[in-house]
């Protein structure tokens, strides 16, 4: 299975990368995919994906991961990635991180 990962928003600025393509075996979970990306991009990546580096690792509230157009939550991190991307047998993962500001 081929997995296309796009980094969007400030995450792309931080990682100095917009896109990467990985090969994944059937049954690969999103958490495993994120682990592989961590080895490529280091803690700069993981800090923005998870609320804390220590377990239990949970997704940052404003980091959204879309797999083939569907937003992922913590409960889906350990499910196998679906293979229903644009190309048959592929998967498209969009990772978006938003830093913040607010008030009132």
């Amino acid at each position: 299975m081929s997995i296309r990962v796009q980094f969007m928003g400030p995450l792309a600025t931080t990682l100095r990368a917009r896109e990467t393509e990985l090969a994944g075996e059937a049954g690969l979970t999103l958490r495993q995919l994120l682990d592989r990306l961590e080895t490529c991009y280091g803690p700069e990546f993981t800090q923005r994906i998870y609320r804390t580096l220590a377990p239990p690792r949970r997704l940052q509230m404003h980091t959204r991961i879309f797999v083939n157009g569907n937003a992922v939550d913590d409960a889906m991190l350990d499910a196998p990635l679906p293979t229903a991307g644009v190309e048959p047998g592929s998967s498209e993962v969009l990772i978006y991180f938003m830093p913040g500001a607010s008030g009132g």
């Binding site: 928003g9 937003a71 969009l94 991180f97 938003m98 913040g100 008030g103 009132g104």
Partner: protein, 860 residues
């Protein structure tokens, strides 16, 4: 108005259009009456729980904003290159295309160099709508965004503590069931703020029902004047009083809710002599001492049947004590007599109030609502801007909330309620759905939040690469360094790899809303280029290069004026309501909605994929409603998707435009959620120890230091800089309060509100205690100077009153406009913020809240 067809002709059009107010961030639901194209009346919308048909003076006066002849109607460009306070920019009318072309070229160049050179600034008045501006910033790739003045004045402390302890942005007493409400520097239900109008109705119901209300505040105005008791307090000392009250409850009266503390807080977690938790060596989970079996067990071990709250227990060779016991010991240092010296409130009063509060909480009692037996704790301690706007901000809010926590009056019937921490969603779609959940050490994190990083667990502090250093201080959300006197010094010391060059402003008048004007002016002068969307030219405009004529709230669309519900949806039992804001009159002149312009600009710059993804994240869109990164959308299309995503295809934008609001009932499990959700809150902030140390390691080598007491796990009263002024000539504390007639500095230009303010004894005056004034030979109506110990001063006319602490100088912020472009506002009231220093020294080193009091003298 009553007879709008005054010329005798029959009305061809006569419509009531449902929408939402935006004169403050309360966003109350309105009906706008339009006759033959003219807006003739604004009323509340009875179909919406966000006001129940009621609306305040500000909301009623929107017509005079819409039709103000001083509004900006065309894009303007400066011709005078010199920028400065009061220096005429020489505005020249340009076309939209000229304006957008210049902005695009500059932005693209900036983005190619380093997108962080763009700073985005919005006003708190428009806080919910302005969040869309942040999506542009995210798409652009800059972390430099802030609410000018908003967060550093009202929210960094109050909202973070609200999030950690109540999973919400703010607190109110359960107006329906509370019998004893203790307010510290808050006006919830008596004026401005989140859910302003609904709270007024609920607070009045509570008064009529007989809820006893005690208000601790330096000034007796909106809330205090309706309370059963006003307790005047020295400015900025609320934490000392609250801690003394907790001391009375725990050590003099023996009142606490052991069941609640054992199951819903970290009270039983064992603490080692070094202040950290004793942890299970395998799982790392904090240990409790199970009195039943006489053994230390993980806090969530089902075998720990009876976790001890008191005592000393040996674990791994160390004497460990439950966190509650440490709290109980800690507050002994705040004897009422000591608190009296700090606060000026008599020890006997503190003792009496503690007893009244403790007894009113009825620890152990239950009540049956809708057939369900629930904990009943009808006492609540509430804080907001007045109490929290000081250098010790986090501890103040924490200390006050401990009153709720020790008696178990948090998010249960009658107690202190967060604004809507739980929502199970609309019955047809289950959306929006969010529930607080247990995070590290079993402690609560909110189910939804206004910011990317949740208040708990705090994010890992990082060496900052943003202008405000919020990565270094993860419990902050807005930073004074965005406009401080010492910003360049800190940027150099931390080797910030860029400097802000361009500022994109949305309606904020930061020259007046942050602090003293000279400091802010200096920071604004550092930008090469400033673009501002505005309704009016104002004092800030003197620093702008291009002004873009914005649409008012009566001319724009917003699919979610009251979501997240933790922000400004009324709390407590009742009904959920999701209204929309929609244009009630068409745009005239060359005004455009800032958000449409920004969306267009993003597409124009090729930021479409990033912008659409930012919108997907911001609105939580996915599935069929997810915006395709490759396509371009109008804001109407985005709004349509947002509404269908939450409420299904039948409730699309067209449905909302007609009906205005969708409602469904709240359930008991949502409102009084605490017994139903398995989370704990920290009465002992162990995480502060490690957090403070991590920040110190990054900051100290750069010369940014702080007293570690700010990071102590239990709250302390720490003085403001104003308490440490030694020159006896400066003998008074100046503070500001929010006037019921005004929102920030925006509403003095509204002639109906201005007229009421001129009739009001206090709105435009400096409130001074009668006796204090007499001793200085100052008479009612005199014009005086208020001079700060740091050498700043403002003048205004005095209103003598018995309703202010003798050491207090009370000013309704933030008036005193001088721009000739706002002829109604000009010269009215007092510019309090001129007295405020904006620098790290006056900033809370935990949450970056600015200190908002000043030691002053009053001279003729």
């Amino acid at each position: 108005m009553g007879t709008p067809a005054g010329n005798g002709q029959a009305a061809q059009e006569d419509r009531w259009i449902p929408s939402a107010c935006t004169i403050c961030y309360g966003g109350c639901s309105i009906l706008a009456h339009r006759v033959n194209g003219t807006l003739v009346k604004i009323e509340g919308n009875p179909a919406s729980p966000v006001g129940n048909g009621r609306i305040c003076a500000k909301g009623l006066s929107g017509i005079m904003i819409l039709y103000d002849p001083n509004r900006v109607n065309y894009p303007l460009r400066r011709t005078n290159p010199r920028k400065g306070i009061g220096i005429d920019p020489g505005w020249k009318r340009i076309t939209w295309e000229e304006a957008l072309e210049e902005i695009q070229v500059r932005m693209e160049k900036l983005r190619a160099e380093d997108p962080r050179q763009l700073m985005i600034q919005v006003t708190t008045t428009l806080a919910p709508s302005s969040l869309l501006f942040f999506t542009f910033g995210w798409a652009f790739g800059t972390p430099n965004m802030w609410v000018a003045g908003g967060g550093i004045h009202c929210g960094n402390g109050a909202h973070a503590v609200g999030g950690i302890m109540h999973a919400s942005w703010s607190l109110v007493p359960d107006f329906k069931h509370c019998t004893y409400a203790l307010y510290f520097g808050a006006s919830k239900g008596h004026g401005a703020g989140h859910a302003a109008t609904p709270n007024m109705e609920q607070a009045a119901d509570a008064r009529a029902r007989g809820m006893r209300m005690v208000v601790v505040d330096p000034i007796c105005n909106f809330a205090a004047s309706k309370a059963n008791e006003w307790v005047p307090i020295r400015v900025g000392t609320d934490a000392a009083m609250a801690l003394a009250m907790v001391n009375c409850l725990l050590n003099e009266l023996g009142i606490w809710d052991a069941d609640y503390l054992k199951t819903k807080t970290n009270g039983p977690y064992l603490v080692r002599p070094d202040g950290t938790h004793a942890r299970d060596p395998e799982s790392g989970k904090p240990l409790v001492w199970d009195a039943a079996t006489g053994a230390a067990r993980a806090y969530d071990d089902p075998a720990a049947k009876d976790p001890a709250l008191l005592g000393t227990y040996e674990v791994a060779g160390e004497a460990c004590r439950p966190a509650f016991e440490l709290l109980k010991e800690h507050v002994k240092r705040y004897a009422p007599e000591r608190a009296e010296r700090i606060t000026g409130v008599q020890a006997a009063t503190i003792r009496r109030l503690a007893r009244e509060f403790g007894e009113a909480a009825r620890v152990g009692s239950t009540i049956v609502l809708d057939g369900v037996r629930l904990p009943y704790r009808p006492a609540a301690a509430i804080y907001f801007r007045g109490a929290q706007g000081h250098k010790n901000s986090s501890h103040i809010c924490f200390a006050i909330d401990l009153l709720n926590q020790v008696v178990g009056a948090a998010d249960v019937v009658g107690g202190a309620l967060g604004f809507n921490p739980v929502c199970h969603g609309h019955p047809e779609t289950g959306r929006p759905r969010y529930v607080p959940r247990a995070e590290r050490d079993g402690l609560m994190t909110p189910g939804t939040w206004m910011l990317p990083h949740l208040p708990y667990p705090p994010a890992e502090p990082r060496h900052p690469d943003s202008m405000g250093f919020i990565e270094l201080f993860p419990l902050s959300h807005v930073s004074p360094l965005m406009a401080s006197a010492d910003q360049e010094q800190w940027w150099q010391r931390f080797e910030l790899p860029y400097r802000p060059k361009m500022l994109l402003n949305y309606g904020a008048n930061s020259l007046m809303s942050v602090g003293n004007k000279d400091t802010v002016a200096e920071t604004l002068g550092r930008f090469d280029f400033v673009v501002s969307f505005d309704l009016f030219l104002n004092e800030f405009s003197d620093f702008a290069d291009i002004i873009l004529p914005d649409a008012s709230y009566l001319e724009v669309l917003d699919p979610r004026p009251n979501f997240p519900f933790i922000f400004n949806h009324p709390a407590g039992p009742g009904t959920w309501g999701w209204p929309i804001r929609q244009p009630v009159v068409p745009l005239t002149h060359e005004r455009r909605s800032a958000r449409e312009v920004l969306l267009g600009l993003a597409y124009r710059m090729g930021l479409g994929p990033e912008m659409n993804m930012a919108l997907n994240v911001f609105y939580g869109l996915d599935g069929p409603q997810m915006l395709d990164p490759k396509k371009a959308y109008t804001f109407e299309e985005v709004a349509d998707r947002e509404l269908q995503h939450k409420f299904g295809p039948t409730h699309d934008l067209a449905w909302f435009k007609e009906h205005g609001v969708i409602t469904w009932p709240k359930t008991m499990e949502e409102v009084y959620w605490r017994p139903f959700v398995d989370v704990r809150v920290p009465i002992y902030w162990e995480f502060m120890l490690g957090l403070g140390e991590k920040i110190r390691r990054i900051a100290a080598s750069r010369g940014m230091t702080f007293d570690p007491a700010y990071y102590s796990p239990l709250p302390e009263w720490l003085p403001c800089p104003s308490h440490e002024v030694e020159d006896a000539a400066y003998d008074l504390y100046a503070f500001y309060y929010r006037d019921v007639l005004h929102t920030n500095g925006f509403t003095m230009e509204n002639p109906w509100l201005d007229e009421a303010s001129r009739m009001d004894p206090y709105s435009y005056r400096i409130a001074l205690n009668t006796e204090t004034a007499r001793r200085r030979g100052i008479r009612d109506g005199d014009t005086v100077w208020v001079e700060s110990a740091t050498g700043r001063r403002v003048s205004g006319r005095v209103k003598l009153t018995e309703g202010i602490h003798p050491e207090g100088v009370g000013i309704a912020a933030c008036a005193g406009h001088w721009s000739r472009h706002q002829p109604v506002a000009r010269g009215k009231g007092v510019f309090f913020n001129e007295l405020l220093e904006v620098d790290y020294e006056h900033t809370n080193p935990v949450n970056l809240n600015l200190d908002l009091c000043a030691k002053v003298r009053v001279v003729p």
